[in-house]
Symmetry: C2
Subunit: 263 residues, 2 copies
């Protein structure tokens, strides 16, 4: 492992630039994974990072040491003070992977279960949705241009490694995707009358989820195959979009599993 101790080191300066600018990271086609859980998930599910960066203090942590041991890619240690400027996580463990942002090849059409995000803005919500999708066995996520940037540190952190089991497509024209879809597209809406429990979810279907305040845009609602609602009880009218997503994805998985058990 290399050791860098000067703020003027060119590699450190480049890292600091990338860590401080999501635009610079995007331009470089790279992402930063922060902390033990994300780095471990990356090693388990994807492979080696471009570079492993660790603070001198963190090397004493057995979990960090175990991860660094598995890294065959270039690795650099930094004094804690230099590392601090790279991480957005307060009181975090000082471990970063610089990785190539996956750029999966987009299929010609939507032919499997997927999640379509139409302007979901809160990074915590977007990350929670990716995490639920990954846990429910959904493999593809398509995001409209107005959706939170999926490879930003906050979305990565909230998704807890789900990124590495998903194919994520950003800046997608969702209208075009829905028009050519070969699976039903179910738009969730508090104003819909069809209950999710009355739709056959045992076959592949795509979920269309909208902006926290405004919901799915009218243009896309009109293109969807179904407009569905999670039936409520009581005076609270709506769910958080990530909570709504979890209920939908796991109802789909429940129906799929029940059908398999019956077959």
């Amino acid at each position: 492992m290399k050791s860098v101790t000067s703020r003027d080191n060119p590699f450190y300066k480049e890292l600091k630039h990338l860590a401080g600018s999501s635009q610079a990271l995007r331009k470089a086609g790279r992402s930063l994974l922060d902390g033990v859980h994300l780095c471990q998930a990356y090693l388990d599910l994807v492979g080696q990072p471009v570079h492993c960066i660790v603070s001198e203090g963190a090397l004493a942590n057995p979990e960090v040491a175990a991860i660094v041991d598995r890294v065959t890619a270039p690795a650099t240690s930094l004094p804690d003070a230099l590392f601090g400027a790279l991480s957005q996580v307060e009181h975090g463990i000082h471990l970063l992977f610089l990785v190539e942002t996956p750029r999966p090849v987009r299929p010609d059409a939507l032919v499997q279960s997927a999640v379509l995000l139409d302007g979901v803005q809160d990074p915590g919500n977007a990350g929670s949705i990716l995490r639920s999708a990954g846990a429910a066995g959904i493999r593809q996520v398509y995001c409209s241009p107005g959706t939170a940037s999926c490879w930003s540190p906050k979305v990565l952190r909230a998704a807890m490694g789900a990124h590495f089991v998903l194919e994520i497509f950003e800046n997608v024209d969702l209208a075009d995707l829905i028009r050519t879809a070969q699976v039903p597209v179910l738009a969730t809406s508090g104003y819909a009358s069809e209950r999710i429990y009355d739709v056959d979810l045992s076959r592949p279907a795509a979920w269309l989820l909208g902006h926290e305040g405004q919901g799915v845009s009218d243009a896309l609602l009109n293109l969807a195959t179904h407009r569905v609602v999670i039936p409520h009880a009581g005076a609270v009218e709506s769910l958080n979009v990530a909570a709504c997503a979890a209920v939908c994805f796991f109802e789909q998985l429940r129906q799929q599993t029940t059908k398999l058990q019956r077959a």
Copy 2:
């Protein structure tokens, strides 16, 4: 409506003190509701605030004006610059209700469906859980001492008014509550083997949800009637606690509704 324009006005100084200190609010037995949605929900579901505070600029907003029109309690307008120091919401609409924090009388025992929060720390998660509970028809929430403060601005904002249809009990000894419970207590755990779909949820049951990282504490897990899991598919091992809560609450509502339809 009174108009206050001086930073030295005693009422303004008291408000600023309360807005800046959750401890001062707690001591006063009051909460601050920020924004149109929360204030409207409070008027609809509870009644009049102790005091309504609005910025001069916000009075031009028709939604704000409609709410202010419904207020018979004392109301005060402030110049925008003075109001800014009271609100934590960036780019928010300048409307605040100062309200008495509800102090519902705690029942002798747990006899209905409820949510038990054991150290849920993130205010966004706590708020989302309250919102889902309110939407699923659950009426009671019991929080351990280590759980996020439910009447803090972030939890209030995330719950979108669910507070006003719930009875919320904070600083509860959950072990004691579970020992004397007259309904089954279901602890969610990624390590459990009993699937939520295999438990009879058509009758009242309480959900025990744990800390974001560590889950439900072992002591409480051992007291619970059931340890249940949401079956997953794929390599992502766990759900966000608020997503998990939503799946559980709505599975309960689904089973209750299905049973009613069959009866």
